[in-house]
Amino acid sequence: MTVQETILSVRNLNKVYETPAAWGRAGTRTHVVHDVSFDIQRGEILGLMGESGSGKTTIGRLILQLLHATSGQVALEGCDLCGMTTQALRPLRARMQMIFQDPLFAFNPRHTVHQILGTPLRLHPELVERHGPVDEQIRHVLSQVGLPADVVHRYPKAFSGGQRQRIGIARALIMRPSLIVADEATSALDVCVQAQILNLLLDLRDELDLTILFIAHDLTAMGLVCDRVAVMLRGRIVEIAPTSELFSRPRHPYTASLLQAIPRIGTKAMPGVAPCMPGKGTQVQDGDGGCPFRMSCRWAVAQCAHNGTALRLLEKDHWSACVREDLDLPGL
């Protein structure tokens, strides 16, 4: 990267689900994404890591405008997407693509690979004008993801999990997007196949200068492919830093507890030393202004009840929301 060019800029993104009061039952407000801000530069892979329910998938969908944000901004290459009409968004959708966890459910089972890859081009004829005929582009993109050209007449169910994920990636690539959101793209795959797909994503990034938002809960995979990682907890980003920094010197106790939970070869688990983690019984009320991790945190102090939601810059590119800047937490 010579000159940094911001592809995606997310500012103060919020998403609240409200159920109205009805039949004597009080309405509820669930704040699933809380004031989230980050940037992704061209050619960068940013990891978004968090447990289920932390809001990472919601953020992916908010960026792609598959959900409407309650407030905040999502700017793709400088144009703000929130508040655009469906009509105005349509030409922009080609510039951001998604790779799904299980591509079998993301494909029409009655469509051949040719139809799967050709449909997006049919909807965006300007890409055919610019980059050549459909068949040629399909052949090109299949070779990029390492599939033979003769698969075009086969149906999704005829492929193995890894091949299907390659088709999923090909469908995203054929639009020549500025941004790819990969939501748990390798979680459903076997270890060897996962390794192949992770390598493919890295190769494609180097070759095409792709920008990827990599959403996952698998920390080891994330540590391998991402340039920077953001850790989410209950709808907030609690720490964001370059990968090696974050893994070697975490500054938020929640990140440290996640790192301790990584299963690794050669360390046998000892009963009773499971890491501390936010359990259901220790749910912190939304919007009380305190750190969402404080109930499970062994370093919590009184200050944590009112502080610890805003990210602060600790050193170059390393942001953490924890008020205890003095902590020396174990990394990997």
Binding site: E51, S52, G53, S160, G161, G162, Q163, D190, V191, C192, V193, Q194, A195, Q196, L198, N199, L202, H217, D218, L219, T220, A221, G223, L224, V225, T243, S244, F247, S248, S257, L258, A261, I262, P263, R264, I265, G266, T267, K268, A269, P271, G272, V273, A274, P275, M277, G279, K280, G281, L332
Partner: protein
């Protein structure tokens, strides 16, 4: 090994599906033999379509009637005088008495295994009363005890909850509590942590270890993740294309993996060291697991193996041979490769 310290002995188990001979497909799993000791945690490791789930379903007697099963699955009694049972010869009724009572199973996706319209307590009480002659009140009381044993914070509140109100980790614990309700000697856990987050996964693994110590039950843990296996296993059994290719004590396996496939699996795993060193690319195994009809005649891993020698590996199926104490491997060249 005397009868008493072995819970389960599987001998020459083969399972086939589809049309009868002469146009029958080759069996999905072939000549699977292993044994499980009392209190032992055995990890069955393999990629999808390696046959690990079919093996576990065969142990539970949950394969469809069309499956062609041969071999022997012996369940040994705890006391010396207790008879050993061949599970494949039992009637359906006799099988039902064993299932859930002496052998129980935890499945991968806890959401699909709980009935969405009954409360947790309701479902747990049903199981408890099925296995034991208990009053409703007593069963409810014991149910709370089981939920407590699997580490649920407020078990009495949890009993009244509906499945959708619980998180993934809680549901998986409820499933384990239900599996434990029959006080099984053997628990089969089919990828119980694959759908869970790392922290919850750590808790569930921790729980299995603790229960093993407390109750002395044996566990067959099925996973495709060797890092998870290394965390809890006493024994590792690696399956590939329907065969056991390595069967070893965990210690021996992780210090000296003998089968090239096991080594490749270990290499394909992103590790903490790689992240530390800033390494970006993973080693992969070229090609795919061969389909049922295209399994090679010789060593099944030969087409993908980096150590394969054409004249040696591509004809005649290799047999499991000893590669040290308590270590079996299905490779003719393991000695040269290890050297």
């Amino acid at each position: 090994m005397t009868t008493r310290d072995t819970v389960l002995e599987v001998d020459g188990l083969s399972v086939g599906f589809g049309p009868q001979a002469p146009n029958a497909l080759p069996p999905v799993i072939e000549d699977v033999s292993f044994s499980v000791r009392r209190g032992e945690i055995v990890c069955l490791v393999g990629e999808s379509s390696s046959g690990k789930s079919v093996t576990s379903l065969a142990l539970m007697g949950l394969l469809p009637p069309s499956a062609r099963i041969t071999g022997e699955i012996m369940l040994h009694g705890r006391e010396a005088g207790e008879p050993s049972l061949d599970l494949l010869q039992l009637s359906r009724r006799a099988r039902n008495r064993i299932r859930g009572h002496r052998i129980s199973m935890v499945f991968q996706d806890p959401m699909n295994c709980l009935d969405p319209i009954f409360s947790i307590g309701n479902q747990l009480v049903e199981i408890l009363r099925w296995h034991n002659a208990l009053s409703r009140v007593e069963a409810w009381r014991q149910g709370i005890g089981y939920l407590h044993a699997v580490g649920i914070n407020q078990p009495d509140v949890c009993m009244k909850r509906m499945p959708h109100e619980l998180s993934g980790g809680m549901r998986q614990r409820v499933m384990i509590a239900m599996a434990l309700a029959g006080k099984p000697e053997l628990l089969i856990a089919d990828e119980p942590t694959t759908a869970l987050d790392v922290t919850v996964q750590a808790q569930v693994l921790d729980l299995l270890l603790r229960l093993r110590t407390q109750t002395g039950m044996s566990v067959i843990f099925i996973t495709h993740n060797l890092a998870v296996a290394s965390r809890i296993a006493d024994r590792i059994i690696v399956m590939y294309a329907g065969q056991i290719v390595e069967n070893s004590s965990a210690e021996s396996f992780f210090t000296r993996p003998a089968m090239p496939y096991s080594r490749a699996l270990l290499d394909a795993l992103p590790t903490v060291d790689m992240i530390r060193q800033g390494q970006k690319r993973l080693k992969t195994i070229s090609g795919n697991v061969p389909g049922l009809a295209e399994r090679p005649a010789g060593c099944r891993f030969f087409p993908r193996c980096v150590h394969g020698v054409a004249a040696m590996c591509d004809s005649g199926s290799p047999v499991l041979q000893s590669a040290g104490a308590d270590h079996l491997v299905r490779c003719r060249r393991w000695e040269e490769i290890s050297a």
